[in-house]
C-alpha cells in the first residue's frame, strides 16, 4: 500500500503490541499480594485433604503445649493442634470472602450501571436506598440476620455480602457515569447500539478495574467481618474452624498463652494485606493506559 507523505512514518511509530507487556512481567505489588493470597488459597485447599492433626481432635493429654517438633505452633486449651486449626480456618475465611464478594458484586454492579445509565427517577431512588444501607453498620446487619436466621457461616456470608452491596454500587455508578459521558458512548449510540449492548461492551469493560479493586477491598473487609462475627460468637459455630473463633477461644488465656491470639491475628492481617496489595497491583495492570505509560 502506498501512503501519502508522512503516513508511513506513523505506521512505524507504533509500539509492538504484545512484546511490551510480557517483557515487563508482573509488578512487585501483584507478585507479593498475589503470592500471599495464593499461599492462603493453597493452604485452604491442602487442608481439605491433609492437616498435621485432625483440626477438631481434642486431646486432653497435650493441652497448651508450646511449639515443638510434634506441634509446630503448639496446641490450644483443648489440646488441638494450632497449625491444623489455622489451615482449616483459612477455608472458612476464603469461602466467606468469596461468597460475600460474589453476592455484593452480583447485585451491586448491575445496580450501579443501571442507575448510571437511566435518566428515570428510579436511578436516583436506587442510590438513595443505597446510601441508607451504606450508613447501616455491617455488623449490626449481621447481628439482626443472626437473630432471625440463627448463627451460622451462611448467615454471616449473606450479611457481609448485603452490607458490601452499597460500596460496589457506588463505585461502579460513579465510574459508569464517567463512561456514559465519553464520546465513544455517544458514537455507540449514533451507531445504533442498544443500551444493553452499551452496558456490556463499553460500560462494564471500562469499570472492571474499579470492580476488581473494590472486590479486593471488600474481600479484605469480609475477612475482618467474618473474624469479628465469629469472635462475637455470631459467625462460625463451635466445631467450625475459623480464625475469629480461635481469637475468641484464646482470649481468656491472653496472658498465659499469647501465641493463641498472635497466630490467628497474623493470619488475618496477612490475608488483608495480601488482598489489598493484589487489588492495587491489578488496578494498575488492567488499565491499558496506565500500563503502557510506565
Amino acid at each position: 500500500m502506498t501512503l501519502p507523505g508522512g503516513l508511513s512514518r506513523l505506521a512505524t511509530g507504533l509500539q509492538p503490541a504484545s512484546s511490551q507487556r510480557s517483557r515487563r512481567g508482573v509488578s512487585a505489588t501483584i507478585a507479593i499480594g498475589g503470592g500471599i493470597v495464593a499461599f492462603i488459597a493453597i493452604v485452604g485447599l491442602l487442608s481439605l485433604v491433609w492437616t498435621p492433626y485432625d483440626p477438631g481432635g481434642i486431646d486432653p493429654t497435650s493441652r497448651l503445649q508450646l511449639s515443638s517438633s510434634a506441634h509446630w505452633l503448639g496446641t490450644d486449651k483443648f489440646g488441638r493442634d494450632v497449625l491444623s486449626l489455622l489451615m482449616a480456618g483459612s477455608r472458612t475465611t476464603l469461602v466467606v470472602g468469596i461468597v460475600a464478594v460474589g453476592v455484593a458484586a452480583l447485585i451491586g454492579v448491575p445496580l450501579g450501571i443501571m442507575s448510571a445509565m437511566t435518566t428515570r427517577w428510579w436511578g436516583e431512588a436506587v442510590m438513595r436506598a443505597n446510601d441508607l444501607l451504606l450508613a447501616f453498620p455491617a455488623l449490626l446487619l449481621a447481628i439482626m440476620l443472626t437473630a432471625v436466621h440463627g448463627q451460622g457461616v451462611v448467615t454471616a456470608m449473606v450479611a457481609i455480602g448485603i452490607a458490601s452491596i452499597p460500596s460496589f454500587a457506588r463505585v461502579v455508578r460513579s465510574g459508569a457515569i464517567g463512561v456514559m459521558k465519553t464520546e465513544y458512548v455517544l458514537a455507540a449510540r449514533a451507531a445504533g447500539r442498544r443500551p444493553l449492548a452499551i452496558a456490556f461492551r463499553h460500560v462494564l469493560p471500562n469499570v472492571t478495574s474499579l470492580i476488581i479493586v473494590q472486590a479486593s477491598v471488600s474481600f479484605a473487609i469480609a475477612v475482618l467481618a467474618e473474624a469479628a462475627l465469629s469472635y462475637l460468637g455470631l459467625g462460625a459455630p463451635p466445631g467450625t474452624p475459623s480464625w475469629g473463633r480461635m481469637l475468641q477461644e484464646g482470649q481468656e488465656l491472653l496472658f498465659v498463652a499469647p501465641r493463641l491470639e498472635v497466630f490467628p491475628g497474623i493470619a488475618i492481617a496477612l490475608a488483608v494485606l495480601g488482598l489489598n496489595l493484589l487489588g492495587d497491583g491489578l488496578r494498575d495492570r488492567f488499565d491499558p493506559r496506565l500500563r503502557d505509560r510506565r
Binding site: M1, L3, P4, G5, G6, L7, L10, A11, G13, L14, Q15, A17, T182, E183, Y184, L186, A187, A188, R189, A190, A191, G192, R193, R194, A197, R201, H202, P205, N206, P288, R289, D292
Partner: protein
Amino acid sequence: MTREFRRQRTSLFTPAPVVHALRGVSLDIAPGERFGIVGESGCGKSTLLRIIAGLDQPTSGVVEVDGVDIARLPERRLGFLREKLQLVFQDPMSSLDPRMKVRDIIAEPLVAQGKRDTLPRVLELLEAVGLQPEAADRYPHQFSGGQRQRISIARALAPDPQILVADEPVSALDVSVRAQVLNLIAELVDRLSLTLVFVSHDLSVVRHVCDRVAVMSRGEVVEIGATEQIYDAPQHPYSRQLVAAAPRLRAALAGRTAADLAADTLAAKERP
C-alpha cells in the same frame, strides 16, 4: 429550535437555573452540501450537532431528516438515522473505547446493524483513511491523535452513511496533522458524495472544507451564507470579529494558518 439545560440547583428555595444553549436556531442543509458551523467555544455548536444526530432532544422545535421529525422519536425508532448519519468527534482520546481493538471499534456500526464477518470491510476502511491493516489488532492508546481521528473517520464511514457530522475534528490536533486530517475528510466527502456538517471555532478551517457556513454566537445563528461571502464581506458584527481575529491569531501563534498548510500539501500532491 431551542435547547435549555437545567443546571444543578444552588439553593432549595430558588428554582434550578436554566442555561439557554440554543435559542431559535433554524437551518436548512441540502443533500450533498458541505455545511459549516462556526462560533466561539460554548456557543452551542456541540449541542446543535447532538440534536441533529438524534443523540439529544430539543426543548422545543422540530428536526426533519428526509421529512421525518426525529426530535420526538424515541431512540429505538431512530434506526434509519443511525444508518444514514454518522459522527466524528472532537476529542481523539475520548472518542475511542480504550478497551476495544480498532477492528471492533470500526465494526461497531456494522455489528449494531446485525452484520457479520466485518473484517474485510474494516480493512477496506483502514486503507481508505490511510492506516495500515496491522492497525486492526491494536488498541487506541497505541496511536497518535491524528491516527485516532482517522480511526474515528473509518468508524463513521463503516455503515456507508449519506451524512457525515464532524464536531471540531481537528481542533485537538497539532497544526501539521490538522491539514492532513482535514484533507482526508474533504477527499472522502468528495469521493463518497456525502453531505457534510462541519463544526469549528476556526473560520479558516471551515473555509477550507465548506461551501456554506452558519455563524453562531451565544446559542443563536447570527448569519448564514456562502463561505466566501462571509469571509470577504461579513454582515453581522460578530462575523466580522471572527473573520478579523481568526487568521491573525493563528498567524501569530503558528506562523501560518491550517488552511495554508492544507493548501500546500494539496499543491504538493498535485505536482507530478
